[in-house]
């Protein structure tokens, strides 16, 4: 937790309660880290995972696609206790991928003509010129439009692995892979909690989902009551 600080941007993968780093969130809770800027897909359910950070008012701002599974997050957003930026789930993936892959932004058709284009740069394909041009939302539509979504990058990312070796090579399990794989690329410091830690060489190189080169630390995950 020495790399964690008040006000940091933290990437917290997981889909509702699946593939969430409960053990590392324990660490944030215990150390009293606050004013977090969270990037996640959602906020788990009330009282679990990211929901614990919500309950204890540790989150200042959250970038996510959905909070419907956690009524407490909805209440705190309505009460202006948490600032929220909604991003379509696929755009969230691509924004973090861009942040982790050295790409300056991505063009997506998702959200064109919806509130998702507000305040963002809009590009339209000009068939004749063979290039994109910037347009405003009110211009007459002459070609296919895309939103320019900017990269997302964080200070720290907590990933949850099924198995990891001592070098940090990671294998995820079933749908617990979800945002762990893209988010692991997009932070300065990546900590992995693993259900099982194995010796280097025990994992087949072909099945590794996140290479150890991207992972800075591996810790043992605690058992989570289902």
């Amino acid at each position: 937790m020495e790399k964690c600080f008040d006000g940091m941007t933290v990437l917290l993968p997981g889909f509702v309660n699946c593939g969430v780093s409960e053990t590392l969130i324990d660490g944030l809770m215990q150390k009293g880290i606050k004013d977090l800027k969270v990037i996640s897909n959602n906020t788990s359910i009330k009282g679990q995972g990211i929901g614990r950070l919500v309950h204890d008012n540790r989150i200042k701002h959250i970038t996510c696609s959905h909070i419907g599974n956690n009524t407490e997050t909805v209440e705190k957003v309505v009460a202006n206790e948490i600032n929220i930026t909604f991003v379509p789930q696929g755009s969230l993936c691509e924004k973090t991928r861009a942040g982790g892959a050295g790409i300056g932004g991505i063009l997506t058709p998702t959200g064109v003509g919806t509130p998702m284009q507000d305040g963002k740069q809009l590009l339209e394909w000009d068939e004749e010129a063979g290039q994109y041009k910037f347009v405003s939302a009110d211009d007459p539509i002459k070609g296919k439009r895309f939103i320019l979504e900017l990269p997302l990058h964080g200070d720290v990312c907590f990933i949850h692995a099924w198995k990891a070796d001592k070098m940090g090579n990671v294998v995820y399990h079933r749908t617990a892979r979800n945002f762990n794989e893209p988010f692991a690329t997009a932070a300065d410091w990546v900590i992995c909690e693993a259900e099982e830690i194995v010796e280097v060489g025990e994992l087949d190189p072909d099945i590794i989902n996140t290479p150890g080169a991207l992972v800075d630390m591996v810790v043992q995950a605690r058992k989570v009551e289902g």
Binding site: C93, T110, T175, R177, N178
Partner: protein, 218 residues
């Protein structure tokens, strides 16, 4: 038959052998019960799986690492596979999903869909809906025809924040099926007991009525 089950039964008839289908949470998941048993239909869930089965039955072993788009336990059939959210949305936006099936607050006659936010009310967020309706080959909206006050959910022009512009291909209600085409919104099928006049009377849109309107049960 319960109205929602009837809508699910009709919607399931769209799916053909080998199709890849994404069912939204809530009413759309009911479609799974009505798939033609001669067909292999593959269910995709945006959290990273193709080959998703339904909710676990009594006695099934529950794996907490296998969840559906609502975070509820599900299973993976033989031949299924898992991947990251990033890969999953690549498949979705890339046009590899045949059908996406969702609910709606409103659909308008131009095929605009509003299903994620009502101004003044707390929004849960759009989740994967905007990507799904943008990328899937065919978007089907399943909805009760009218809201609790009796007002049609299929409207002339929706003022709600949109999920997608002109993205809806079909709307299936307990009363009828609308097909959104280049020519406009076509009344394609009627539920037993419904009439063309009855649908036109409750649905405030410009509706194309073909010479023959089929039954939803054919």
């Amino acid at each position: 038959m319960d109205a929602k089950e009837f809508i699910a039964k009709r919607t399931a008839k769209f799916f053909k052998d080998g199709d890849l289908v994404n069912l939204g949470i809530g009413m759309p998941t009911k479609c799974m019960a009505y798939i033609n048993p001669d067909y292999e239909v593959w269910f995709q869930s945006e959290n990273g799986v193709i080959g998703m089965t339904g909710a676990p039955k009594e006695g099934d072993v529950i794996d907490p690492d296998i969840v559906d788009a609502g975070g509820a336990p599900t299973g993976i059939r033989n031949g299924g596979c898992c991947f990251s959210s990033f890969t999953s949305f690549g498949y979705i936006r890339g046009g590899h999903v045949d059908y996406t099936v969702l609910g709606a607050y409103e659909v308008d006659q131009n095929g605009n869909l509003a299903n994620w936010m009502i101004p003044g009310k707390a929004a849960a967020g759009m989740g994967g809906a905007m990507d799904l309706v943008t990328g899937a080959k065919c978007t089907i909206v399943m909805t009760l025809h009218c809201d609790k006050t009796g007002k049609s959910k299929i409207v002339r022009e929706t003022k709600l924040p949109l999920t997608g512009v002109g993205v809806v291909d079909y709307v299936v209600t307990e009363k009828c099926v609308f097909h959104f085409t280049k020519e406009g919104m076509v009344l394609e099928e009627l539920a037993p007991g419904e009439t063309v006049e009855g649908i036109l009377a409750i649905t405030p849109c410009d509706i194309i009525v073909p010479e023959t309107v089929k039954s939803m049960e054919d």
